[in-house]
């Protein structure tokens, strides 16, 4: 999740929004004065209404008729307790459904543009598991969207009908998985296994800030547990408990630049429009997304 963080990183307050916007402007993410005004006002209301510890701007997904602004509210546990919201006007916010792996896989097949109308429906037909196979436990709100059909040759076809907000939820989750990134040392693992923001983090050095191995995916680690034990023991368990960007597959998933010598910008090549920034020697870092919400499947050909 997240974005636009700061001294008390990951809180979007009066100060952090401007500072963060300054950092990501060069990547083409700008907000109008109107949008900034609206966001500041409506996100305070959202935080208050939902009793979040903090709210943050995630970015926007560009539709053909309207754009979806995405924000996230964070509860007591900044690692696990995150809810996503979308808004078409930066004023009223609606919660996005919770991502589900089955739908994630289905949505990854949709390559058409988002329209900006949450009611737009997409229909995806895909091969399902053989009739004999066990069905995974699917919650009713997901099962409701899917209909299985056994064909004449005994194969199964699954047809899923998705509204655009559902698809949006999966896109946000997928982008978060790959693009929500924090610098080394910004978060620590406490002895009782909680992920907490480090109070002593004072930023990476100018050189380190431009190296992708100093950034970690802010998600449950997936690569780390599968690393050889010999490698794992070398890691500092309080600081290096997350997947490093250096272990990303494909390997060249990021472009890193130290722009103007003053701000490190990591641009995702897998999700064009995903931007991670960090101002060296400060506590300021964050990430933001502005793009079409579709994955770049052609990376192998493009380097």
């Amino acid at each position: 999740p997240l974005s636009l963080s700061l001294y008390s990183p990951w809180k979007m307050n009066l100060a952090s929004l401007s500072a963060s916007l300054d950092a990501v402007a060069s990547s083409g993410f700008v907000l109008s004065a109107e949008q900034r005004s609206c966001l500041r006002t409506s996100l305070v209301s959202l935080q208050n209404a939902e009793k979040f510890v903090s709210v943050r701007l995630w970015g926007k997904i560009i539709g053909t008729t309207h754009d979806y602004f995405i924000a996230q509210g964070v509860g007591q546990d900044s690692f696990n307790d995150v809810k996503s919201f979308y808004s078409l006007d930066c004023i009223t916010w609606a919660q996005l459904p919770i991502s589900h792996p089955l739908l994630a896989a289905t949505c990854a097949r949709i390559k058409s543009r988002f329209t900006g109308d949450p009611a737009t429906e997409s229909v995806v037909t895909e091969p399902g598991p053989a009739e004999s196979e066990a069905r995974p436990d699917v919650p009713p709100e997901v099962a409701r969207l899917r209909s299985e059909k056994t064909n004449d040759d005994n194969t199964v076809t699954v047809t899923t009908t998705l509204t655009e907000d559902r698809r949006l939820a999966e896109a946000v989750a997928a982008i978060d998985h790959d693009v929500c990134v924090v610098p080394r040392g910004a978060f620590k693992m406490t002895p009782n296994n909680r992920v907490e923001q480090s109070k002593t983090f004072s930023g990476l050095g100018s050189f380190d800030a431009g190296q992708i191995e100093n950034y970690f995916h802010f998600r449950k680690p997936e690569v780390l547990p599968n690393k050889p034990a010999a490698e794992r023991v070398k890691l500092d368990p309080t600081l290096e408990f997350l997947d490093s960007l250096a272990d990303d597959v494909p390997t060249q998933s990021w472009s890193a630049q130290l722009e103007r010598g003053e701000v490190a910008i990591l641009r995702s090549l897998v999700w064009p429009g995903g931007v991670v920034f960090h101002v060296p020697s400060t506590r300021l870092f964050g990430n933001v997304y502005v793009g079409l919400g579709t994955k770049n499947d052609d990376l192998a050909f493009m380097l």
Partner: protein, 441 residues
């Protein structure tokens, strides 16, 4: 630790500051307020783009506006505008679009020089490597299509790039038809190094400078738009086919926001010439009939490819946008207002769905407009990219009976043949017998 490397980063920052500080020089107010300025009011336009959520930030824009002025002063340019920004893997490109003052255009020779790598095969042929003595291919490629000269077609304007405003502007080479044709078939990230090779299949004829230039040409041709009716063709110029210049229509009365916003996009027109499949705006027969050779021979040889070539055509300049092809079942363009709370003071912004990152705004009833591109330089595509397959092997000889090897007979044919032969033999024997009989008779 990385103390020394950090120092380097700080030194780089200081060096850039030093470079950029030369931009910030005072300018005298022109005595005549109406005087034509070579650089438009970049800041005001950028503010409207920013209202639409498009831009690179006010401070960078301001530096760019000064860098454009610096460019206009350094070269004999009539006008310079901020074309946009292209992201690269290691550096980004700030792109300026310019026109030379009349009579101060660069000589065509100058422009041809910076592309020596165009035909790398030739250098290989002349090298001393051990394969030099193997039999050489008799295949002569068609000569590359001539590059359109500065001032016409895809090279109507000239483009300069820099990585950071204040750094030196580098002129891009003219766009080459072959580069455009190949650029359409590949999808590559820019590296930020103009001299970097472009490793691709099909092989790209040139380095990154040519690739950048080709992408700029493609984006410009497709996404540069202006309010319909603001420009018109000069009546005196009546060649319908090749019109690639226009003049401001003095009778333009302005378009309401509602007209500019209309989803049909009838309120907007293409402001740049369409690039034909051959990579030029003005069609050229790639193999003009050679009249001094034997016509019959030619008829035979060129039948499949070049004879009676149908000229490629595209929509003319200033065609309305409403005829643009949909992109993946979505309209090619999306139009909106920059503000929903204060629509009466808002601008109209039109965004390309074919080239995400390309936008146009219209102000003052369309009397003022601007175009910008900020992105990676890639066309939108719903389907994953797959590189083109290698072409089918070339036919070495025309297909004629005399040189065609006969098919081996099948077993059935052999049997039939054998039977036929046997029958014939039998018939001959019979006749002989008959003859004998006749003789007997």
């Amino acid at each position: 630790n990385d103390f020394i490397q950090d120092k380097e980063a700080v030194a780089e920052k200081a060096k850039l500051a030093q470079t950029q500080s030369q931009l910030f020089k005072k300018q005298q107010l022109d005595d005549d307020d109406e005087a034509e300025q070579p650089v438009p009011d970049v800041m005001t336009l950028a503010r409207h783009f920013e209202d639409a959520g498009v831009g690179v930030g006010q401070e960078e824009t301001f530096r760019i506006s000064l860098a454009l002025r610096q460019l206009a002063e350094a070269k004999p340019l009539k006008s310079v505008r901020f074309w946009g920004k292209l992201f690269g893997l290691r550096k980004n490109y700030i792109v300026a679009e310019a026109e030379y003052r009349e009579g101060e255009e660069p000589q065509p020779e100058d422009e041809e020089e910076p592309a020596p790598s165009e035909t790398p095969e030739q250098t290989e042929e002349e090298s001393d490597d051990p394969t030099a003595n193997v039999p050489k291919s008799q295949y002569k490629p068609l000569p590359p299509l001539p590059v359109e000269e500065y001032g016409s077609g895809v090279n109507k304007k000239v483009y300069f790039v820099c990585h950071e405003p204040g750094e030196e502007w580098v002129g891009l080479p003219n766009a080459k038809p072959a580069a455009i044709v190949v650029a359409r078939q590949i999808k590559k990230f820019l590296t930020g190094d103009l001299s970097a090779p472009v490793v691709s299949f099909p092989p790209f004829p040139g380095n990154e400078a040519d690739y950048v230039r080709a992408q700029i040409a493609r984006i410009t041709a497709t996404t540069t738009i202006s309010p319909a009716g603001l420009y018109t063709f000069d009546e005196e110029d009546d060649e319908e086919e090749e019109r690639d210049t226009f003049i401001e229509d003095e009778e333009y009365e302005g378009k309401s926001k509602a007209e500019l916003l209309d989803p049909s996009l009838a309120g907007w027109a293409h402001h740049s010439s369409y690039i034909l499949p051959q990579g030029r705006c003005k069609w050229l027969n790639p193999a003009p009939p050679k009249e001094d050779e034997d016509e019959d021979d030619e008829d035979d040889e060129d039948e499949d490819e070049e004879e009676e070539v149908e000229p490629e055509t595209g929509p003319p300049l200033l065609s309305p946008l409403q005829n643009d092809e949909p992109v993946d079942n979505q309209p090619a363009w999306s139009a909106r207002l920059t503000s929903e709370t204060s629509p009466n003071y808002a601008a109209v912004v039109v965004s390309s769905n074919l080239w995400p990152g390309a936008h146009a705004i219209a102000l003052q009833e369309g009397k003022q407009f601007a175009n910008i591109y900020i992105g990676w330089g890639h066309k939108a595509q719903a389907q994953p990219y797959s590189p083109p397959l290698p072409p089918a092997p070339q036919q070495e000889f025309p297909n004629s009976e005399e040189i065609t090897e006969a098919a081996d007979p099948t077993r059935e044919e052999e049997i039939a043949y054998e039977e036929a032969m046997k029958e014939a033999e039998e018939d001959a024997e019979q006749e002989e017998e008959d003859d004998d009989d006749d003789d007997d008779e």
